[in-house]
Amino acid sequence: MGGKSEPAKSESMATTTTSPDLINSSFFSFKSLKLKTKQQELLLRISILGLVYILAFIARLFSVLRYESMIHEFDPYFNYRTTLFLTEKGFYEFWNWFDSESWYPLGRIIGGTLYPGLMVTAALIYWALRFLRFFVHIREVCVLTAPFFASNTTLVAYFFGKEIWDTGAGLVAAVLIAICPGYISRSVAGSYDNEAVAIFALLLTFYLFVKAVNTGSLAWALASAFGYFYMVSAWGGYVFIINLVPLYVLVLLITGRYSMRLYIAYNCMYILGMLLAMQIRFVGFQHVQSGEHMGAMGVFLLMQVFYFLDWVKYQLNDTKLFQTFLRITVTSAIMVGGIALGLGTASGYISPWTGRFYSLLDPTYAKDHIPIIASVSEHQPTAWSSFMFDYHILLFLFPAGLYFCFKRLSDATIFIVMYGLTSLYFAGVMVRLILVATPAVCLISAIAVSATVKNLTSLLRTKQKVSQTGSTKGAGSSKASSKVTLDQSQPFQKNGAIALLVGVFYLLSRYAIHCTWVTSEAYSSPSIVLAARGAHGNRILFDDYREAYYWLRQNTPTDAKIMSWWDYGYQITAMGNRTVIVDNNTWNNTHIATVGRAMSSNEDEAYEIMRSLDVNYVLVVFGGVTGYSSDDINKFLWMVRIGGGVYPVIKEPEYLVNGEFRVDKGASPKMLNCLMYKLCYYRFGELTTEYGKPPGYDRARGVEIGNKDIKLEHLEEAYTTSNWIVRIYRVKPPTNRL
């Protein structure tokens, strides 16, 4: 073939054979794209993660958009107050802060009785922003801390998922946890509570520990010790870590998965974690002295015994001798451990388990022994409906994920299985612990989703590939290619896979819809402002709490002491800036019982108690006008119970009629004359609340009250909010003796 004629020919070819060229070029471009699959995948992964990060943040902003940027609930107000103090006065002042504004006359050592992690985190973010010349208000930082950490949690979930399964599972886990209602409930903007950062810290610690076990690297173990330190500084739930990790190690030891990696990871994490945790004043020596932490120490010693035995076995080279040695060592080790524990407990060096810990293991414990724990609604056992509400499809995916985990058992999957099962048990015991179980449930469900989708798509993809290669063979060999496609495939496999995939995506989309709905409807209302729909569909706000607190702040003497039930303590100190007798840090049961006793005594006796506590104002929450049901009358039985627990003068049956709690005419005389009843219903008998009902009709309980002619002798009404939700009474000074 002459070189001269060639260009012309190729040219003619190009004109005549455009279509195959086109196919070729598209094929090439596909190929050249495929060359960069890695980068493509990376790009896709990073953009998905970025979007999930943003999604996790913005999904939590409902309340800010709907109401305003404000702190929700009760506890966050304390956290906000302390953060404010920290940013204004500095860390040392904060650490040594003795707060005389709460628990009058006892006061409270704030630095020694709180987990500072949250406040320090917010303050650091605040200072960093100011350093970068963004002069934001500390309130904005506090409000947005929880969503910010929720976003970070999604990243940790991704890495965790990657570590225990693969990147796909990691991505799915990140997406699931980003919008899981169980987590959103505690991390919406404004819920500035310890849990906001603690879940991040919890998951981070677990992730780093699993990573350390997988790699046997000291660096990762060290990192996990620091993660643990952060967790200890942030939340009392760290006890879960310090018990779950040893349990996990124990299971690995029993199942014969002991390895040097595990030895390094656990020892480093335990020793360093313990030393670091002891720096937190609230934890201090509890870490080596309290019963809850003893398991970790026991496992630590067991590890050393294991290591020692391993070494002896290596030295001895004689099975029989080793067996005897093993028996002697193990028995003596257990005996020494048992004796040490016994001695420690008997001498009081090791404190026994606390009530909270007991109540976790035994759901009925708190009800019988510690009414103050049982009185909190979030400490109640969880109903099935709330599992469904908070987990939705994850509830079904969880067992499937467990199946996959068991199918591919490794150190990491054993961990996640244990984490999932234990936390799910605790979630069943207490409503609020659903939060702790959420990351595990999301991760295990993610494994289920990812593994299923992966299997299905690989089915689809193999088919596509065969048919694709067939098509590139062109028309000349169509018969042959059709033959190839026909063999090695089961009937309807492809259709089945497609149907299943569609099913999975349908489920996931339902999950997304459900999560958005739950977030918007249930978890995004700040309990401090109540919203209702008016007759014309317009939104009515009941801002009575802030009205009352602000009135206290502006129009009472700065040293006034306010008595109220402990629920409102934090809010009164934070928003009202006044001294309270008891607050949400329920550290002194007797003090709370005294307030409970005052509330449930008659006015004269109550006046004596209030005089002895220097009370100037009494605040009660009353929902009879608006129909707001979580008011003090409905909480009253707990006051009686807690008061009666310390002062046997108060007897619960005296407030009940045939075991029934009533406020109408049939109520017990004790009830009708106690302070709480009088303060709530003072002059309520003259008010017509609902058309067609007699005056004094209590809308929260749907009855006409029993005592309409209430006279107050030692107190006078100081302020009542516009919807009567908060009523404040002034305690009169004693009358002059003539």
């Binding site: 070729n24 970068l132 963004f134 063979k473 000349g476 502006q554």
Partner: protein, 607 residues
């Protein structure tokens, strides 16, 4: 206090009578008309004075005097002449021989009054805190009574020939008033006089006790921050410390009585405050220390924006509250340029109607980089400078701080703050942001590109290096194999062409070029394969690569064989079906091989 002030006055009159000071020129006021308006919480006094100079000396100064207890509460004083209309300068004077219980203000006259000249002066004075609640403490149901003390005769250092006084009371109950000669009560207007030929320093105290329905809202402190942004916005933030200065509430506050219909009890409290904001005010908010307050209403038209705010709780006598309102204003309405300078022209006082401000602090925050700042105000204020840091500030923004006590609605006049500012400075903040991100990205790039390992000889580091090399080699191998596959496809394509056109020569040419290409590629492949085999960290990969290469070779051979068969078939001019039958078995193998190669490639891809 009231009684003591009356006693003071008597003493004062005595002293004056004794002194009969010569310090004042002997002007004569031929006619004095005083009108006192007490329908709001302050007393607004309007006087028309007809001044005559009977003496021989010409006079350029006129003295206004007030008893001290009024003078101390003087919030605003302005003196005007009617024809021609002009504002006269007023300053506080302290002439000798005047007792402490008198405040003196001297008015500079527009032109000196020579003998026989007359001049009419219009004096407007506003006094705060002169309506004293009496009784000082009331219960929720009682009405709010206040007391006014004045003199029925005009206190002046000059002889007054004729004077009259009328007091405009609110349209409500009048408890009592001093009855002198020529006292008349017409509806809600109380009239004293006319009184003729009064000697200098005449004084006859009167007391009026009446019900007031006005809101006694006083801002103990008001901080107005006016932040000028050259991006098009003037942001005004006002922090109010409001207190009800009327009679204090004693005893219970009953919500039931307060809400009772039709006779609510609590008339002495006020629930609302009305702010009249400039037109085009936008992004208005109303909040306090603990959050947003949702009770406010806004109405706006082209002339004004009216904001009706309701504090969290009704304010009874003695009750306090604190709140903040903020709004944005369009820059073009307030910023002007003159003589190379810019100036902000903005109202000084609070936009709240019926609010007396005891201490007003106005902070005008100018953009960062403003220079040559000067202020002009229509009345005397205390000035100082501060620096404020806001978002993205480095040097801080200059703040002009103006302070004034006892501010009433009459002070709502415009002040001008002049400054120089170059527009280049506007760009500094966006540039800072851009450079911030730039630095961030650069650090990321450097971090990913640079090698930060501490020990360059540690085994893990070396292993990592080697592994990177292996990965690079693998990628090369992959690309070569891909090229081979592409060459195969070309070959197939040439066969298809052949079946369509029957051009054997082109087909052969294609074959030849592919052959040489494949040979080159396999040559390139050799050293890579060798490297993979020698590298220890690639031990688990090299067999796969090996397999891949072998499979590819096999595929090549098969393809070549097929090609040869087909071309031969065409050369022999056999029928298409015949050729197809002959290559059928080869075709199947080729497809299977191809599949295997793709699988292997995918496997390598996933490493």
């Amino acid at each position: 206090m009231k009684q003591s002030s009356v006693v003071d006055l008597l003493l004062l009159l005595l002293t004056i009578a004794v002194l009969a000071t010569p310090a004042f020129s002997d002007l004569v006021l031929s006619k004095v008309e005083r009108r006192i308006d007490v329908t709001s919480q302050f007393a607004r006094v309007t006087k028309t004075l007809k001044v005559v100079n009977p003496g021989s000396e010409s006079v350029s100064e006129f003295m206004l005097i007030f008893p001290k207890f009024l003078g101390n509460n003087l919030a605003y004083l302005s003196v005007k002449t009617k024809r021609p209309v002009a504002n006269l300068s007023v300053k506080k004077a302290d002439p000798k021989g005047i007792p402490d219980s008198i405040s003196v203000y001297s008015v500079g006259l527009p032109k000196t009054l020579s003998k026989g000249d007359t001049l009419t002066l219009e004096v407007v004075a506003t006094f705060t805190n002169v309506l004293q609640p009496f009784p000082e403490k009331i219960t929720q149901g009682e009405i709010h009574l206040v007391m006014l003390q004045e003199s029925s005769q005009y206190l002046s250092p000059y002889t007054v020939e004729s004077q009259s006084l009328s007091i405009k009371l609110p349209n409500a109950r009048i408890e009592s008033y001093s009855k002198l000669e020529n006292t008349k009560l017409q509806g809600s207007e109380l009239k004293y006089g006319p009184y003729k030929n009064l000697s200098p320093f005449s004084y006859s105290p009167i007391v009026v006790h009446f019900e007031s329905k006005a809101a006694f809202s006083v801002a103990e402190k008001l901080v107005r921050e006016i932040e000028v942004s050259h991006w098009g916005n003037v942001q005004v933030t006002e922090h109010y410390n409001v207190v009800h200065r009327g009679a204090q509430l004693k005893g219970e506050f009953s919500r039931l009585d307060f809400q009772a219909r039709p006779n609510p009890r609590g008339a002495s409290a006020f629930r609302h405050l009305l702010a009249r904001l400039p037109p085009r005010a936008h992004s208005i908010y109303y909040r306090d220390d603990i959050g947003n307050i949702s009770t406010s209403e806004m109405q706006s038209d082209s002339k004004k924006t009216e904001l009706l705010i309701e504090p969290r709780f009704p304010l009874f006598g003695g009750w306090k509250t604190f709140f903040t309102i903020g709004y944005g204003l369009p820059l073009s309405d307030f910023l002007f340029a003159s003589e190379g300078k810019r100036f902000v022209n903005i109202s000084f006082g609070s936009p709240m109607i019926d609010l007396v401000t005891e201490k007003l602090i106005v902070q005008v925050v100018l953009p960062e980089g403003s220079k040559d700042i000067s202020v002009t105000t229509p009345f005397a204020v205390k000035q100082s400078r501060e620096i404020k840091y806001s978002h993205l500030d480095i040097a801080g923004r200059p703040v002009v701080v103006l302070e004034k006590d006892n501010v009433v609605l009459d002070h709502n006049q415009h002040i001008q703050v002049y400054y120089k500012f170059s527009n280049i400075n506007l760009l500094s903040e966006p540039l800072m942001l851009i450079s911030g991100f730039f630095v961030l990205f650069i650090t990321c790039i450097i971090y990913t590109r640079a090698d930060f390992s501490i020990s360059k000889s540690s085994p893990t580091y070396l292993a990592k290096l080697q592994w990177d090399e292996v990965l690079a080699t693998l990628q090369e191998v992959q690309s070569i194999i891909q090229k081979c596959l592409a060459a195969h496809d070309k070959l197939e394509a040439s066969l298809r062409d052949l079946s369509r056109t029957g051009d054997i020569q082109t087909c052969k040419a294609a074959r030849k070029s592919t052959d040489s290409l494949l040979k080159d590629l396999s040559k390139e492949l050799k050293p890579l394969q060798g490297f993979l085999q020698s590298s220890p960290s690639a031990s688990h990969i090299s067999p796969k690569v090996e397999e891949l290469v072998v499979k590819e070779k096999e595929l090549q051979e098969k393809l070549m064989a097929k090609h040869t068969t087909v071309v031969e078939g065409y050369e022999k001019k056999s029928s298409g079906r015949d050729i197809e039958n002959r290559i059928a078995s080869q075709q199947q193998k080729i497809i299977a091989l191809r599949q295997e190669i793709e699988d292997l490639l995918e496997f390598i891809d996933e490493i």
